[in-house]
């Protein structure tokens, strides 16, 4: 009986795949010879994946370097407005308990395909109902005393804004612990401010497909109790998700818009390994 099943399925797969073209074998071998003799440099997948965290580390290192540069340069100390030089990180005052202003523009990994989203901790679509008060990501929500901006960045401190959703549909869930709050990166606490243009802040009332990652706990660990909205893709009334917005530079479309039905993304997510 088993053999009968096997035989029928085997035949069905033969029907499905068909026989490869007779020339394919010679074509593969010829292609192999061309590639080998050309000795093309090949980037291994490991190197490719390592490039992402390395890029992030470089961004942080670059940011930290610019803080120090800003601090030492007589031309830029204390300048956070006006004709200040454009830099990934600009710091106002870095001494004592004076205000801290951090502005980051990180070049980071972005989830843009369902296949990539498969690896995220949580993917969900929902509507933002409200934001709470901004707070530092510390136990009491205040800035730890005695730290300057560069140390705050290096040690993983940041200002976050808790966000609530009126409806949240879970599309992909790898969590092992319950979530107590969702946050977006950035905000203002007292005189301190923190902005990171790479992180989204969907507006109240808007619906979005969101990718969540664990929150960074100062000191080097992560927690699933507080999840960060890492990417947010707007969903319109026709259930179309904008995965990539149109951008216009100097009157020309430099990047075309990419819209995909939410149902297609969910179908892809359902097939995650």
């Amino acid at each position: 009986m088993k053999n009968s099943t096997r035989a029928r399925l085997s035949e069905a797969f033969d029907d499905l795949t068909g026989r490869p073209d007779a020339s394919l074998q010679s074509s593969v071998i010829a292609g192999l010879h061309r590639r080998v003799s050309a000795a093309e440099p090949d980037v291994s997948p490991v190197a490719r994946w390592l490039a992402v965290p390395i890029a992030i580390v470089l961004v942080v290192a670059l940011a930290a370097g610019l803080v120090i540069w800003n601090k030492r340069s007589p031309l830029s100390v204390g300048t956070t407005t006006g004709a200040a030089p454009v830099s990934p990180l600009s710091v106002g005052t870095t001494t004592g308990e004076a205000p801290v202003h951090v502005s980051l523009n990180s070049d980071r990994f972005v989830f843009t395909t369902p296949a990539q989203m498969c690896g995220a901790l949580l993917v969900a679509d929902g509507t933002v109902s409200s934001y709470s008060h901004d707070q530092w990501n510390t136990a009491d929500g205040t800035r730890p005393p005695g730290l300057v901006a560069v140390t705050l960045v290096q040690q993983g401190y940041t200002i976050v804004t808790p966000v609530k959703f009126s409806a949240l549909t879970i599309d992909r869930d790898h969590r092992t612990k319950a979530t107590s709050q969702y946050v977006v990166i950035g905000g203002t606490v007292g005189q301190d401010s923190w902005a990171d243009n790479a992180f989204p802040r969907p507006s109240v009332g808007s619906r979005a497909l969101m990718v969540f990652v664990p929150s960074h706990v100062p000191g080097g660990t992560f927690t699933q109790e507080s999840l960060v909205v890492y990417d947010a893709f707007p969903i319109d009334t026709a259930d179309m998700v904008t995965l990539r917005p149109q951008t216009i530079e100097q009157g020309q479309v430099s990047q075309t818009e990419a819209k995909v039905p939410l149902s297609e993304i969910l179908k892809e997510l359902a097939q995650c390994p």
């Binding site: 099943t5 029928r8 399925l9 085997s10 499905l16 795949t17 490869p20 075309t256 297609e264």
Partner: protein
């Protein structure tokens, strides 16, 4: 001519082929590769549902296999699952890339296989298989289509043995439900 998928050289000089290939003998690698191309092509078609892309994947996988052959440390019998794993990974990579190319093009979704495909018309079972989820289809193909033992299916899918068996059972069950009147026995 294509060599049968389960054909493995048994001549006395066969074991040295792997050593020669690992030492940089491209001809030896070709001889090792030839019997693997048929199952590799079939796997790629099952995963991508596109014959042209499957051929492209084969080209790339052959080159990648050559490049990483020196790190292959098992015996020759493991060559087939090893190469099929490279093909499967390349298919997954192609699918990710394809998502972007699909986004750029006017069509958002590609139809799986051509509807006028005569092979599909010949077989309701093949049609039902084509509608399965990708990973379910692949699990079934590895086990029944390529006749691979469950431990190799497990390795290739990157799941536990129990997970692989359960996926095959579940898929067979689903096929039986989808195919009215066509009874399929569970393994």
């Amino acid at each position: 001519m294509w060599v049968a998928e389960n054909e493995l050289l048994t001549e006395p000089e066969a074991p040295s082929l792997l050593r020669d290939a690992q030492a940089g003998d491209l001809k030896a690698f070709e001889i090792l590769l030839e019997p693997l191309l048929d199952p590799a092509y079939r796997l790629a078609v099952v995963m991508l549902q596109d014959r042209t892309e499957a051929e492209d994947v084969l080209q790339e996988a052959a080159f990648r296999a050559w490049k990483s052959l020196q790190s292959f440390r098992r015996d020759r019998s493991s060559l087939k699952p090893w190469f099929l794993t490279i093909v499967a990974n390349q298919c997954r990579q192609t699918r990710r890339t394809r998502w972007w190319s699909v986004l750029r093009g006017p069509m958002l979704v590609r139809e799986p296989m051509e509807p006028e495909d005569t092979a599909l018309e010949r077989s309701d079972l093949a049609r039902a298989i084509a509608k399965l989820g990708r990973e379910d289809r692949v699990a079934l193909h590895l086990y029944f289509g390529l006749d691979m033992p469950i431990d190799q299916v497990t390795r290739l899918l990157g799941v536990s043995p129990r997970g692989a068996k359960s996926r095959i059972h579940r898929t067979l069950k689903r096929l039986r439900l989808n195919l009215e009147g066509q009874e399929i026995q569970l393994p």
